[in-house]
């Protein structure tokens, strides 16, 4: 180290200084990232991994927790409900989201207004939005009162605490995650293509089918993937508005932790995590998917 105590850096022989300087510069980025990496490893990643490890070593090293899943009726039913709900919700979001995305992109003066209506619920917590649906769907809630007033039913029907309530509330919560990627893809379509199509005699429907829809598929793929993966992990909404027997994977995990069944809870967590990661990995090469999670950050 005696070289760097020389008075002028110019006087130092190059052979001694160059590698030193290079090394120092090369490590600056790592030094900047290191505090966060260490923080997240210690306070988040290692805790989660340690918990997941309980699926393999509770009480001793064993694969029996995973083996048991194959005969586990509760798990099978829960997994089915979770998957089924996610598919229904994703389809619902796609059907409702696509027209809104088109409306958002096509609208001129109304566009900021539409954006606020999409973003306002987006910025509201899941808890508050689920609560709103409790208010609306309850036995004496607005929906029941309205249906009675319209003469469509005679007495209140049960909507709250059914799978339907979960699906409605989840579609409401996840809809913006579908709309925004699709709107992004639509916005990138060159408007001259649409003019060219109609100039060539295509009807608006043909233009949509043959030009707009194919070109927006990257957004549809990203939105669908994002919605589905987020839906898989839903906990608060089904717990608040869903049926008492319609338990999702997340709810089952929470239940098992309450009963201190760590081995089982960890196994279920591993399955849930692996499912989400497998879907993302399978879809990672679809165009637009890489940006999906950036969009998720609003």
């Amino acid at each position: 180290m005696s070289e760097i105590t020389q008075p002028s850096p110019v006087a130092v022989s190059l052979g001694a200084v160059r590698p030193l300087l290079l090394n120092w510069r090369r490590h600056v980025p790592l030094l900047l990232v290191a505090p966060l990496l260490i923080y997240m490893l210690v306070l988040y990643a290692l805790p989660v991994l340690a918990m997941l490890l309980r699926s393999l070593n509770d009480p001793t090293w064993t694969l029996s927790h995973y083996a048991a899943l194959f005969e586990d009726v509760v798990f099978a039913k829960t997994f089915w409900i979770t998957f089924n709900t996610s598919i229904t919700v994703t389809l619902g979001c796609l059907i409702l989201g696509y027209p809104v995305a088109m409306g958002l992109v096509r609208a001129k003066t109304m566009a900021p207004f539409i954006l606020v209506i999409i973003l306002l619920p987006f910025w509201t917590s899941v808890l508050v939005r689920s609560y709103a649906w409790m208010v609306l769907l309850g036995r004496h809630g607005l929906v029941n009162e309205g249906l009675i007033a319209l003469g469509m039913i005679d007495r209140p029907i049960r909507i709250l605490n059914t799978p339907l309530a979960t699906q409605i509330a989840m579609i409401h919560i996840l809809l913006p995650y579908m709309i925004l990627p699709i709107a992004n893809a639509l916005r990138q379509i060159d408007p001259s293509l649409i003019r060219a199509a109609s100039g060539l005699g295509a009807t608006p429907f043909m233009t949509f089918r043959q030009v707009i829809l194919p070109l927006s598929m990257s957004g549809v793929a990203a939105g669908t993937l994002l919605t589905f993966v987020l839906a898989l992990g839903f906990y608060i909404t089904p717990a608040m508005v869903g049926g008492p027997r319609d338990i999702t994977l997340s709810m089952l995990i929470a239940q098992q932790v309450d009963q201190l069944n760590w081995g089982y809870a960890a196994t279920l967590s591993a399955v849930l995590l692996a499912t989400a990661l497998a879907i993302l990995a399978a879809a990672r090469h679809l165009p637009g998917v890489g940006n999906a999670f950036k969009t998720s950050m609003r």
């Binding site: 850096p9 110019v10 130092v12 190059l14 200084v17 160059r18 300087l21 290079l22």
Partner: protein, 368 residues
């Protein structure tokens, strides 16, 4: 450091590049560049994109570390010195003015880093604004200025701390042609006023020819030729330089002999004489080059007083372009040539398919 490095050789720094190499991954962006830049000189690094000119400049500025070789300023190696201690002014391609600072604060920025008191700073900033003809613009933000004005502010900022060396990376690239030509003249004036060394990077050969004391033409990470604008235009040593600077005709020929420093070669059955510094052997296959505007139709009313080369050709294309006519010609062996003739009502225009004899001065024929 700038002060300690002064060796009394004038206000400008001298710069020496010795076998400079820069590798990115496995590609040599700069591949053994050696160059002596004299104190107070306006030197241009000219070349197409990817020729290594910008990488060379970045190494002089200190943003890139050379893979091998050495850079010295006023005889002292600066390779180990970080950019902020090199005391070199630099003007960037898009000016790189700080958008969050006013013009005044931008120009005062280097003075603040050097710890100058506020009053002194204000005086020097005003002086610099005068130098670039922008007095009274100090309180504006860069985005409120036109492209040309931003460029001047960038120059003012780069020279306000009186560096002995100014680097410029395509500083006029983003401007339109008219403005560019005005600012070229202004750069020359600034160079004369300041007396410091300028190293200027451009891909625009006209710009390089107009402004530079010397030009280093770069190609493929190497210096193809260094010389004054006249040197490079009249005596290119290299086929790339002849083709990159101005327009050139290339004639394949076979060497038949030498007369002093003039080579005698055979081209399409005709004997062509060319200037040649080296001594090629008889029978060598060589390329001769000559400029289109130096060719003449031999039967025009123009009397040559110097030794001439002559060749028979056919006119394949004729274009009238205002101040001159441009002809595409073809020699018997299929070689295409271009001839540019000043236009005049007194000169007969050639028709396509016409056979003609052309002539040009031996002094304008170079073996490359």
């Amino acid at each position: 450091m700038g002060e300690s490095g002064m060796n009394g050789a004038g206000r400008g720094a001298s710069v020496t590049l010795a076998d400079l190499v820069k590798k990115y991954d496995r590609v040599n962006a700069v591949d053994g560049v050696s160059l002596d830049i004299r104190s107070g000189e306006f030197l241009t690094l000219l070349g197409p994109s990817g020729s290594g000119k910008t990488s060379t400049l970045m190494m002089i500025a200190g943003f890139e570390m050379p893979t091998a070789g050495d850079i010295s300023i006023d005889g002292q190696s600066v390779v180990a010195m970080p950019p902020y201690r090199r005391n070199i002014g630099m003007v960037f391609q898009n000016y790189a003015l700080f958008p969050h600072l006013t013009v005044e604060e931008n120009i005062g920025f280097p003075l603040k880093q050097r710890g100058l008191p506020k009053a002194e700073r204000a005086r020097l900033v005003a002086e610099a604004l005068d130098l670039v003809h922008l007095p009274g613009y100090g309180a504006r933000y860069p985005r409120q200025l036109s492209g040309g004005q931003q460029q001047r502010v960038a120059v003012a900022r780069a020279v306000v701390f009186k560096p002995r060396l100014l680097l410029m990376d395509e500083p006029l690239g983003a401007l339109d042609k008219q403005l560019r030509e005005n600012l070229q003249l202004e750069m020359r004036r600034l160079h004369a006023d300041l007396g410091i060394t300028f190293i200027y990077v451009t891909h625009d050969q006209e710009e390089a020819l107009t402004m530079s004391d010397r030009i280093a033409v770069m190609n493929d990470g190497k210096v193809a030729q260094v010389g004054s604008p006249e040197d490079l235009y009249d005596r290119p040593t290299d086929r790339f330089v002849a083709g990159f600077i101005g327009e050139s005709n290339f004639l394949p020929a076979i060497v038949r002999g030498m007369e002093d420093d003039v080579v005698i070669a055979e081209c399409d059955g005709a004997i062509i004489r060319a200037m040649c510094p080296g001594r090629p052997a008889s029978g060598d296959k060589v390329t001769l080059t000559t400029r289109p505007e130096r060719l003449r139709f031999a039967d025009s009313a123009w009397n040559a007083t110097t030794p001439q080369n002559r060749l028979s050709v056919t006119v394949t294309e004729a274009v009238f372009a205002g101040e001159r006519c441009r002809y595409m010609l073809q020699a018997g062996d299929g070689t295409s040539m271009v001839l540019k003739e000043p236009s005049s009502a007194a000169i007969r225009r050639r028709a396509i398919g016409e056979r003609a004899e052309i002539s040009w001065s031996v002094a304008d024929t170079i073996l490359v």
